[in-house]
Amino acid sequence: MTTEYNAVITEFDPIIGLETHIELGTNSKMFCSCSAQFGGEPNTFVCPVCLGMPGSMPVVNRVAVESTIRMGLALNCSIVPWCRFARKNYFYPDMPKNYQISQYDEPLCINGYLDVTVATENGPQVFRVEIERVHMEEDTGKLLHAGGAGRIHGATHSLVDYNRAGIPLIEVVTKPILGTGDLAPEVAKAYVAELRDLMRALGVSDVRMEEGSLRCDVNVSLSRPGEEWGTRTETKNVNSLRSVERAVRTEMIRQADRLRSGERIIQETRHFNEETGDTTSGRSKEQAEDYRYFPEPDLVPIAPSEAWIEELRGTLPEIPSVRRARLQIDWGISDFDMQSLVNAGALDLIVASIDAGVQPAAARKWWTGELTRVANERNCELEELTVSPSDIAEIEGLISAGDLTDKMARSVFEGLLAGEGSVSQIVSQRGLVVVSDDASLIAAITAALADSPDIAEKIQGGKIAAAGSIVGAVMKATQGQADAAKVRTLLLEQLGVKE
């Protein structure tokens, strides 16, 4: 933590708030039957509804409503008995209708909370983040600013792909989060991570952050202790956990600088620069009334019955915090080890590796060791690495079959991280073959013994520890492609020594 940041904290209390948009993992879009899958050739998952053709009519996706209710229940919200969609009117070509269907003053879920855990010097600390609302809306199309090297400034025109327009989104809005002090950036990050894990546990979204399926608007304000709340800024479209943490931190430092020099904070939208971590002033926000929200006349109200809500409540899985406690006991590891693997974003990857057949200790070793180191070095999330749980299962399988040594396994990881292809491709491209036929190993052992007759005598004389140098010589002769344990067994057999 920088001294600059510490100075902010001694003078000011931060208040943060988060609005998180997450794409639901439904088969079809929110209001039409077009495919909701990611990617696809531009404008191939489109129909009259999501292209905003006159006369086309939206119909609500049942699963999207169910997913939102389940998310609301998991966030300890009340599910309202009756609510409607609203039109948010604005002119921008990311929505061909010239409005986005959202919810405004009648969200489906209200007044919940989510407990998040942050690691501190004094051990894990739990913060209760209160949830204001969870509502449904549709995603917008994707704009490509053309000419001027893709930047919005200097672009000559824009190109629009409507595949994403109409994909169901849920927006989760927190109440102002107070009392986090210097932990504000960590609490913000932990909250978004917990939200992501919850969505995944519920199976309502696989939250592919690298594909932009989770986007966060980060509100920050500062006040001196005992004074009124300060003016807040809203940093838009912060798309990764690390960026959420950085956006809070840099905005706190920027606002403190201004306040100290007697300047005012302007209520505005700011942009987050992923490369520098800075925020810059964006457009001045249109007032809510400028969106001219009104109840969507093409859709009828949503009135979930008690029976439906209870049926959905029955489908809620084990929540992530309970699951973490269970896994920690299963694995027999400390609070600290558990917290650090959670912080590293390794938990689900470890569980997936175990599900794929890897021993728990080996799964933890790979993900929290070498792979976490590489992810930190590259400044990315573990799940963005080109190594999957099934790769680890494959490598571990080869090790236990005696087809790979630990050293070769490292080489395979290197190859995977460098994007050289699949495990089997890398094994053959890199010529990673364990010399396992006894004849060639015995020949190498015989040669090594001939080079050091004194050591052979020592071993036969009972100094078995001396076997190490012969094994080393054999490994060297086979360029590390032999299984050291097997060489040792063969060596002792050859010398007629028993351990």
């Binding site: 079809s28 077009c34 609500v60 400034h153 025109h157 190109l159 009828v300 109200p301």
Partner: protein, 104 residues
């Protein structure tokens, strides 16, 4: 500029609405629309007078709730179905003028 009418409409508001709708309005048009909107809102106000407190406002003419579609994806349109209707299409995408301003 006229004073705010009983319905809260004045020329400033019409100019603002024009801006939100991305319409360039002449002074004559602003005056014209201010008058028209006043009349429309006046008509709505007289209906509101009739609506008693026990009549809840509706947003839909038919008293329906919970109309849903099953979550099944079906193939959408082909480019040849809609590209002829687009003013400009380039690299499989709709080409639109450069716009600096707000998004959702």
């Amino acid at each position: 500029m006229t004073d705010t009418s009983a319905n809260g409409i004045d020329q400033n508001l019409v100019v603002h609405l024009g801006k939100l709708a991305r319409l360039e309005l002449t002074d004559v048009e602003v005056e014209h629309y201010t008058l028209q909107l006043e009349q429309i809102l006046g008509a709505i106000a007289s209906i509101s007078e009739v609506a008693a407190a026990d009549i809840p406002p509706t947003s839909h003419p038919i008293p329906l709730e919970n109309v849903y579609r099953e979550d099944i994806a079906i193939p959408g349109l082909l480019h040849e179905d809609f590209v002829p209707g687009a003013p400009s299409f380039e690299d499989d995408r709709f080409r639109v003028p450069r716009i600096l301003g707000e998004s959702a």
